[in-house]
């Protein structure tokens, strides 16, 4: 039985208990609030999880465009946008999966190319247990959120 899926998917991941690692889920939550008021119903679906995992490949099925959101260390800018392409990425533990590997899983399981996927990486600094995201990270999050809203409004994919 197939269900009608929203053409746009925003998927953020991270541990909400580990400081700036919460940026991905936080952005998705805030985007969902705004989208409810500003986008047609059923246009956008928002999902979060602790980690990216193989079964999330199934969440991509039937989408027009997908936006991945994660915290990132080592960024020189508040956020960075890039196109994600399928790639065979080696795994070491079940506790993490790269977005490129997820798209490769999609390609191999579905026997077709995944929808256009964009990665929104938000600058992160601190990952202490039990802490909320820092002020700098939240400021960067606000900028990234504005970009994500534009991504959600546009009919065509934004190139990195």
């Amino acid at each position: 039985m197939s269900r009608k899926v929203a053409p746009l998917l925003v998927f953020g991941w991270g541990n909400p208990s580990r400081g700036d690692d919460a940026l991905g889920p936080l952005l998705v939550e805030q985007l969902a609030d705004r989208a409810q008021a500003q986008l047609p119903a059923g246009r956008l679906e928002c999902l979060t999880d602790f980690q990216l995992q193989v079964e999330h490949a199934l969440d991509l099925v039937g989408r027009e465009r997908v936006l991945f959101v994660d915290a990132a260390i080592g960024l020189q800018t508040p956020f960075a946008v890039s196109t994600v392409l399928p790639a065979p990425v080696a795994g070491f533990t079940t506790h993490a999966l790269a977005p490129e590997a997820l798209l490769q899983v999609y390609r191999d399981l579905e026997r077709t190319e995944p929808p256009p996927c964009t990665l929104l990486a938000i600058r992160a600094h601190r990952f202490e247990l039990g802490e909320a995201p820092g002020e700098r990270a939240l400021a960067d999050l606000a900028l990234a959120l504005a970009w994500a809203m534009e991504w959600a409004r546009l009919p065509e994919e934004i190139s990195a």
Binding site: W13, G14, N15, P16, S17, R18, G19, D20, D21, G24, T48, D49, F50, Q51, L52, Q53, V54, E55, A57, L58, D70, A71, A72, I73, G74, L75, A87, P88, V89, A90, G91, F92, T93, T94, H95, A96, L97, A98, E100, A101, Q104, V105, D108, L109, L119, A121, A124, F127, L129, G130
Partner: protein, 508 residues
């Protein structure tokens, strides 16, 4: 005759040895690293596996209201949050005087827990382990993941994903959400299973059972097809500990503790979970935050043991579901009835457990008790409680003390990876003894060490998930601290050689 347990630290003078550090950095902090200490002849003398796991989490819990704990502890791990959710609530059942919980709550929790076993085991086998067995340890890294499996065995890869999805749906209809469910509460459950949701899953069972059987077939075929020189890969004789149910049945949710010696003799049986501290001590070492559990009667050096699928399968006398029991008997027969300590046999055992998990889910979905009835038990308040379950990777212990103000005053957690701490060290040591020589960090060495660790799939529980980290880094130092060799393995599998040591080595 019992195999002697081997002390982890065999080096008489660790200060005078070279060091190799293997640092599988998953994310920022929740990483592990392996230190191989060499002697002057470049031979392995000692292994130290560092897993920075849930450092600080116990203190994080202290001072919190007890009713928050079952939800909070799910943030320990994004892979098996349900295991922590249930272990915590089982411990707090005692605190609120709600143990035993009503039948409906007990059955719903069991359903949730076996869904967890199914989803985690499916992920482990299809994502991490079967590629090693399918392609060999020295295959290109691009092949040694699910992508490689998908290319070579397209249906198996899909079945792995669908099995995991099924397990997660079981969790969702019992816990309320796929992630961070709130269904289990001290004293019972706060929700029953919706009949319509139950029916959706029940309709999938014939297919799911067939997939689970096929998974055991694949694991068995891969294991029995291993070349002779790999059949005993990383073999580490060890005592085995797990919960067992009545009559010695395999039991994941609630039972008594049993310890079996490495030669198969039962050493401890029927040990009540609330008294675990009379059975297990927790050693510490200056070079790691992880504790080293040991049997008190044998002491820290000789008292280590293994938990997890390979231990559980051999610790029980039988599996109380017919398909998995037949597979257990085949496993035992294939090894001539002798205890099995070869690390790669873990994968076969894990798939038998997955099949058992699906069978239990099938039975419970047919049980009308999961649809309703009394869900909460109350009774006389207690100051403390212990909750022990068998999580996918092995025995998981939660213990709490709670004050009159409802705030947690003490928390002690022993997770599966901690129980297996020394067993993992021994497995890596066994591999390194065979494959490391000289001053070069080779790809085959890294691959073999990864395979040994991967069999345990150590929980990098509090790992954060920011982008930008190298998954693997290796540093070789001489006795004077000089870097002899250093290798980064990128997330794409590229290997970059340099001379910059990994900062984690400063902890040595």
């Amino acid at each position: 005759m019992t195999e002697p347990t081997r002390p982890l630290e065999t080096a008489a003078d660790p200060q005078g040895q070279r060091r190799i550090v293997i640092d599988p950095v998953s994310r920022v902090e929740g990483h592990g690293k392996v230190t191989l200490l060499l002697d002057d002849d470049n031979r392995i003398q000692q292994v130290r596996l560092h897993i920075v796991e849930f450092r600080g989490f116990e203190q994080f819990i202290v001072g919190r209201p007890y009713w928050e704990v079952p939800v909070m502890v799910q943030r320990l791990c994004g892979i098996c949050p349900v295991s922590h959710h249930l272990a915590a609530t089982k411990a707090l059942d005692r605190v609120v005087g709600g143990w035993p919980v009503p039948e409906a709550a007990d059955q719903i929790r069991r359903l949730m827990h076996h869904g967890q076993i199914v989803q985690s085991h499916a992920l482990h086998f299809f994502h991490l382990s079967s590629p090693d067995l399918l392609f060999g340890f020295d295959a290109d890294v691009a092949q040694r993941n699910i992508v490689g499996v998908a290319m070579a065995h397209p249906e198996a890869a899909r079945q792995g994903v669908m099995l995991r999805k099924f397990g997660q749906e079981v969790i969702r209809i019992t816990a309320g959400k796929r992630v961070h469910g709130t269904g289990s509460v001290p004293g019972g459950m706060n929700r029953a299973v919706d009949p319509a949701e139950r029916d959706v899953l029940r309709a999938q069972l014939p297919q799911v059972l067939a997939w689970a059987e096929a998974a055991v077939d694949l694991a068995e075929r891969l294991h029995t097809g291993l070349p002779t020189h790999l059949a005993g890969f990383a073999e580490t004789p060890a005592a085995m500990m797990s919960l067992v149910g009545p009559g010695g049945a395999m039991e994941f949710y609630d039972g008594t503790l049993r310890v079996r010696e490495a030669d198969g003799r039962i050493a401890v049986d029927g040990f009540e979970d609330q008294r675990y501290r009379e059975l297990i001590g927790e050693g510490v070492k200056p070079w790691t935050y992880m504790k080293f559990p040991y049997r008190l009667t044998l002491g820290p050096e000789a008292g280590w043991y293994r938990v997890g699928p390979l231990a559980r399968l051999q610790n029980c006398d039988f599996i109380p579901t017919p398909r998995a029991e037949a597979r257990r008997q085949a496993f035992v027969a294939a090894h001539g009835g002798r205890p099995v300590h070869a690390v790669l046999a873990t994968h076969w055992a894990r798939m038998i457990e997955l099949l058992h998990g699906v069978e239990v889910v099938a039975d419970l979905l047919d049980d009308p008790a999961i649809l309703g009835g009394p869900l909460i038990a109350t009774g006389e308040r207690q100051r403390s409680g212990v909750g022990i379950i068998e999580a996918p990777r092995g025995t998981l212990i939660h213990e709490y003390e709670v004050g009159d103000d409802d705030l947690v005053t003490r928390c002690n957690l022993i997770v599966s990876t901690t129980h297996n701490n020394q067993a993992m060290n021994e497995a890596v040591r066994s591999v390194a003894l065979q494959y490391l020589d000289g001053q070069t960090i080779t790809e085959p060495l890294l691959n073999h060490i990864e395979v040994a660790i991967r069999a345990y799939d150590p929980c990098l529980s509090c790992a954060t998930h920011a982008l930008g980290q190298m998954p693997l880094a290796v540093t070789l130092r001489n006795a004077r601290g000089e870097v002899l060799d250093h290798v980064h393995r990128s997330s794409r599998g590229d290997t970059v050689r340099g001379t910059r040591p990994h900062s984690a080595e400063a902890a040595l």
